[in-house]
Amino acid sequence: MVREDLGLTGSKKGCGIGDCGACTMLVNGVATFSCMMLAIQADGCVVETVESLAENGKLNKLQQSFVDLGAIQCGYCTPGMLMTATELLRRNPHPSEKEIRLALSGNLCRCTGYQKIVDAIKAVAGE
């Protein structure tokens, strides 16, 4: 529904059954795969997608860090990764590498080996 009816195509469909995390959004602040949710379940909830991260066309710190440190290759997992990382950093602004890896463990990436994604989140968390 978010992709087709609202035209917010930033969230990606990678598996449709909650295995890959490409469609991760925040629902009332909780990282949620949207493929496993009926629209009616989000009724009245605050939903945040990757489109909501940049404000007035300016990347936020996390996005900028992904760009600067090369955390992106094909980019298909990127929106989901960013949303999961956003939730983590709100909950725990200074996560350790282990906590970062744990938080990302439901977001599959086939390009980067996760290294530069972890590095990019660490760079923001270390501030």
Binding site: G18, C35, M37, G106
Partner: protein, 344 residues
């Protein structure tokens, strides 16, 4: 994801939910908790596995289960044997592809973790796995449950998935089901007609099959307060470190007279080595009254292996699972004993 057509009912109270469950029981209704299992299960198959061919139907020659249901011929009287056989299949499919889905997401009263005055733990059916994972009291006193939560799926699955859903699906590898058996959990099952309590260890009869009747729903699960000098542990053996389906899972709860002292009670639950999570009864016979010493623990682990009935499937071989049941049981008993403050 393409789902078949169904109506979604959203009750505002548990009573309303019970009423809906009872009203639509015959038409087919399934409960949507976190959705991490149900919505996967409901998808239209890309390759229909076994389409009952609708031979007797005047309205169409063949089709998917759904279209067979939609077609409605099965409602007509038919005396033919083959039609009756098909009718059974179609009726099964109504259970799988129901007309109604009841979503419990508004029932806040079903979500929550509470410890009552008797220090029993009550976890609402709609409590998410993440809630359990982050609960300090569960990690401290019902450790195996916290460890089951840790190892279930991924953080994203845990954010949506609920303990009620995980248990109701009755899969032999369910990561909160297995420790719930060891911890002596008791389910609260309600319907419009009333309520009953069912111990988790007698809840499932086969994969996906439970003692629940039409119109019933799990509202919560209660765990007895752990006595002094008791502890628990859960470990899931799998091939990768997240997003895994348990290959062998063992949960152990043990109570000792004192740290290092004789075993007063033990419950060992085995996952993915039988049609349902198994309570390894013979471990109790081997270990109760004995000291948690090396030789006794080894014997207990062997007994657990005897209780397991693993099969060969695409996730693993029976021989490996059987061997691992013994090993992981051994390790988990030792870990639980250490958690009580003893040393093996």
């Amino acid at each position: 994801m393409i789902l078949p057509r169904f109506d979604v009912l959203v009750p505002n109270s548990v009573d309303e939910a019970f009423a809906m469950l009872s009203r639509y029981a015959e038409k087919g209704i399934r409960i949507l908790a976190g959705g991490t299992d149900l919505l996967v299960d409901l998808r239209r198959p890309i390759i229909p596995a076994a389409i009952p061919s609708c031979e007797g139907c005047a309205r169409h020659k063949s089709g998917s289960i759904r279209s067979t249901v939609d077609c409605g011929w099965w409602e007509s009287d038919s005396s033919r044997e083959s039609d009756r056989a098909l009718l059974t299949k179609v009726q099964d499919s109504i259970h799988k592809y129901p007309e109604y889905i009841i979503s419990l997401h508004k029932l806040k009263e079903l979500r929550g973790i509470a410890v009552n005055e008797k220090v029993n733990l009550r976890v609402g059916a709609m409590t998410t796995i993440t809630d359990i994972e982050r609960s300090g009291i569960i990690r401290e006193k019902w450790t195996a449950l916290a460890e089951g939560a840790d190892s279930l799926g991924s953080p994203l699955v845990r954010n949506r998935g609920t303990i009620g859903g995980n248990i109701a699906n009755a899969r032999p590898a369910a990561d909160t089901f297995i420790p719930s058996v060891a911890l002596g959990g008791v389910l609260d099952i309600h319907s419009e007609k009333g309520s009953r309590k069912v111990p988790v260890d007698s809840f499932a009869s086969a994969p996906g099959e439970t003692v629940m009747e039409k119109g019933e729903m799990i509202t919560g699960i209660e765990y007895p307060a752990p006595p002094e000098f008791s502890g628990s542990a859960y470990y899931k053996l799998a091939n990768r470190k997240a997003l895994e389906i348990c290959n062998v899972g063992v949960a152990v709860w043990i109570a000792l007279e004192k740290p290092g002292g004789p075993v007063t009670d033990i419950r060992v639950a085995l996952g993915a080595v039988g049609p349902t999570p198994i309570l390894a009864e013979s471990v109790k016979e081997v270990l109760v009254g004995k000291k948690p010493e090396d030789a006794n623990i080894k014997k207990a682990a062997k007994a657990a292996r005897e209780d397991a009935t693993p099969i060969d499937d695409h996730r693993g071989s029976a021989w490996y699972r059987s061997m691992m049941v013994e090993l992981v049981t051994d390790r988990m008993i030792r870990l639980a004993v250490e958690r009580v403050g003893g040393k093996v």
